[in-house]
Amino acid sequence: MPHSFSELSLIYVSFSMLALYAPAVLCALGLAFFLYRRHTRLERRQQKHQRIRHAITDKGLDKRKRMALAAQRRNIRELAKLVHGQLKQHERALTPYQNQRTSAFVERSVITVDFDRLYALHSLLAASDATQVSPAVETFFEHTR
């Protein structure tokens, strides 16, 4: 009995799909198995142990860094307080924009622990009188931009 076209095509298409995709799937599985078995069980355990040890040391290092940062922030906050006092003193000599900009700069310095520039600003404000302070602050921001 002759087979219909639809019957034959169903068989041939299924087989051709299998012939095309099966090797690809097998290759992928083989590669995954090879990569997994490339290292022995002992090596894999050793690697896991190294990862755990690194995680412990990283955690310790992170903790120490955070402690140092907290100590530095406490210190720079004291300087920021002094600068805020100076700003209050010179409030009338500075424009509102300069006041706002300087306050923002102080806050940013505390966050980024930029001690040197905050110290420079403090020295500048300490050395300037009411007439000099506005151009001095302007020059300071021009240089630190």
Partner: protein, 168 residues
């Protein structure tokens, strides 16, 4: 006979052939297979033993690492506390010293301490450790001189010179 029946027969014949071939091969190589099985069992036992020993060693190492990290963190926190204390002492003993100078010395010491502990380069780390120790010694020297000479000094001159020398 239809095409699917042909394919079915071919597949069943193929399976039967493979099965009988495999049975023959197993029969012929039975002693070798038994020996291999035994070797595998012994190897598995050995592996399990080695893994158990490894586990014990690793857990000991992890415990040691954890303790070492705790010790380092404790030391680091002591150093940080000593820097804070140094700042307080300076402000107390140098009554006329401007506070920003004490803050600057504190900042410098903290930066050095960070470098001395966290620099990835071992040589740099050693250099910074030496420098940090020298800075702390200079500060102590300044404070000791203050107590010994009795004469009031406005600033910790040696410490400032030490820091400026670095900055230049």
């Amino acid at each position: 006979m239809s095409l699917p029946e042909n394919i079915g027969k071919f597949v069943s014949r193929l399976i039967n052939t493979v099965k009988s071939e495999s049975a023959d091969w197993q029969k012929a190589h039975q002693p070798d297979l038994d020996r291999l099985k035994e070797e595998k069992r012994v190897a598995e036992l050995e592996l399990r033993q080695r893994l158990e020993l490894m586990e014990i060693r690793f857990s000991e190492e992890c415990k040691r690492t954890r303790l070492e990290e705790e010790r380092q963190t404790e030391n680091f926190s002591e150093f940080l506390a000593s820097i804070d204390e140094m700042k307080a002492n300076m402000l107390e003993y140098y009554g006329t010293m401007p506070k920003p100078i004490a803050l600057m010395i504190h900042h410098h010491a903290a930066e050095l301490l960070k470098e001395a502990w966290h620099n990835p380069d071992a040589r740099e780390r050693l250099q910074k450790q030496t420098r940090f120790t020298s800075l702390m010694l200079t500060i102590t020297e300044d404070l000791t001189e203050l107590g010994r000479d009795g004469g009031p000094k406005a600033l910790p001159e040696k410490t400032i010179a030490f820091i400026q020398n670095k900055l230049e």
